[in-house]
């Protein structure tokens, strides 16, 4: 399964701001840690979808150190492991379906009425990253770094670089960052030929393919008043190369709703993504509660638009305990070439995907985080429920083959995370 790599610009300047100028303090009694030793952050994520779908476990460890008054480095290692099944893009049928595994070795059957799921995805990924930060002068900050991510069939290499400058008595910070990533995909069984039938004798092209991503992120952070901080970002991303999911297929359905064939999906080689992001952090007085609200509007040249709102509210409790509810709402419109299935005999467009992740959907996240000190260090645990509602034209469930079939199955997942800083 392709785990998308993403720019590290987003976190690069974080280390700059917090390591060099922030205080490792709790609300009422500052615990001043000696800033020149290593500071560690450990985290664990357990992700589990309902109905035997994807289960993942992810562990992360990061270490930060100030080299001197101006410079710091941060190192991070992440290991994650995925098992379970994922929708393969085909629609359910009122009969049993059989699919060949993407590797070509063996096949699996799907009961009538069920959404076809491929359980081939058992993979472990290791990612390493290093980030360097330097305060160039009183008002200028630099951050640069690289990361590497490797799993059985996927390799990603990326570098990033960003500059930030303060204005208006340091109430305004303008930042500009770049990131470049090079990814190579070597799926088991080779790269499928675009829109080739799964039953064609020759339906594989080369053994691997690659893509490049260039990201630019321009941001302004503004102190509004003693209690309020706001941020505005514009992000622009250009991806070129292989972006198709080699394991996803599209059903070819006849007039009676029966699948006649399955073909491999095909996505364009170029994609330009843009987003506008606004975030506000507000600390209420005298309670010291913090409200964090952000909104992002995303659009790309594949025809997708998406909105999301994310809110967290932190309530400080006694003795450095805290509780933080979390609510997130995400809404996306489908890409132009999304089709839940293709009709037998129709003229096929150049690109097609039945991957619900590029379709029309809304997701809801409800979470609660609880934190308390352990041995004077911060520990927190977070439980979240992540619901994905896939939507679309239900009238497409036509004929004997598809009557009663849910073409847009929803997805539910629980996430349990824990964090420890020491």
């Amino acid at each position: 399964m392709q785990l998308k790599s993403f720019a590290n610009i987003s976190l690069s300047l974080a280390v700059a701001t917090s390591a060099l100028t922030g205080v490792n303090a709790a609300e009422t009694s500052p615990t001043i840690k000696v800033p020149d030793t290593w500071q560690f952050d450990a985290g664990l994520l357990i992700y589990a979808e309902a109905d035997d779908q994807v289960q993942a476990i992810e562990g992360a460890l990061s270490a930060k150190k100030n080299l001197d008054d101006e410079r710091s480095i941060a190192l991070k290692v992440v290991i994650d492991s995925l098992t379970g099944a994922s929708p393969n893009g085909a629609v359910g049928q009122n009969q049993v379906q059989t699919f060949t595994r993407p590797s070509g070795n063996g096949s699996y059957t799907v009961t009538a009425g069920d959404t076809p799921l491929d359980d081939t995805f058992k993979d472990t990924r290791v990612a390493l990253s290093a980030q360097y930060n330097q305060q160039l002068s009183r008002l200028w900050q630099y951050s640069g770094g690289g990361n590497l991510s490797k799993e059985y069939d996927y390799l990603s290499l990326a570098i990033n670089s960003a500059l930030a400058r303060d204005f208006n008595n340091r109430n305004t910070t303008a930042s500009l960052g770049f990131s470049y990533a090079f990814d190579i995909y070597e799926p088991e069984g080779g790269i499928p030929l675009a829109k080739a039938s799964v039953s064609d004798a020759i339906n594989r092209g080369g053994s691997d393919d690659s893509k490049q991503t260039l990201d630019v992120l321009a941001g302004i952070t503004q102190v509004i008043n003693r209690q309020t901080l706001m941020q505005f970002n514009y992000a622009h991303s250009k991806v070129s190369g292989y972006q198709t999911d080699p394991f996803k297929i599209v059903s070819i359905i006849d007039n009676n709703g029966w699948a006649q064939d399955y073909i491999y999906e095909s996505r364009p080689d170029d994609r330009t993504k843009q987003s506008l992001f606004w975030r506000t952090k507000y600390m209420r007085q005298p309670s010291n509660q913090v409200l964090d609200v952000s909104y992002r509007y995303f659009w790309d040249d594949w025809g997708m638009t998406a909105h999301n709102i994310d809110t967290r509210w932190r309530f400080q409790l006694q003795d450095r305990h805290f509780i933080e509810p979390h609510l997130r709402y995400y809404n996306q419109q489908a890409v132009d070439f999304y089709r839940v299935y293709l009709n037998d005999g129709e003229v096929r467009a150049q690109h097609v995907t039945a991957d619900y992740r590029l379709g029309e959907m809304q997701t809801y996240t409800f979470g609660l985080k609880y934190g308390f000190p352990i041995a004077d260090n911060e520990f927190s645990i977070r439980l979240e429920y992540y619901l994905t509602r896939v939507t679309g034209d239900n009238s497409l469930a036509k004929g004997a083959g598809l009557s009663g079939i849910d073409l847009y199955p929803d997805k539910s997942a629980f996430m349990l995370q824990s964090f420890y800083r020491f």
Partner: protein, 70 residues
């Protein structure tokens, strides 16, 4: 059209010069809970989950705010 947006943005940014606080009024902004990247590992987990399961990606960044010291 683009030029108009640009002018509005520049004037808007100039307006930013009137917002803000004195350097000694950053006590709340200096607190760890008010930092933009208060828990980078948590941000990493969330970003990874949502990038894998949804079509959109990116947007956030974390420079600025804080105590403004040194």
């Amino acid at each position: 059209m683009k030029l108009t947006v640009l002018m509005i943005l520049i004037l808007g940014l100039s307006g930013c010069t009137s917002l803000g606080v004195k350097p000694w009024q950053r006590d709340l902004l200096a607190q760890p809970v008010m930092q933009l990247a208060e828990n980078p590992i948590e941000n990493g987990f969330d970003d990874h989950t949502y990038f894998s399961k949804e079509g959109a990606s990116g947007g956030g960044s974390y420079a600025g705010g804080g105590c403004g010291c040194n």
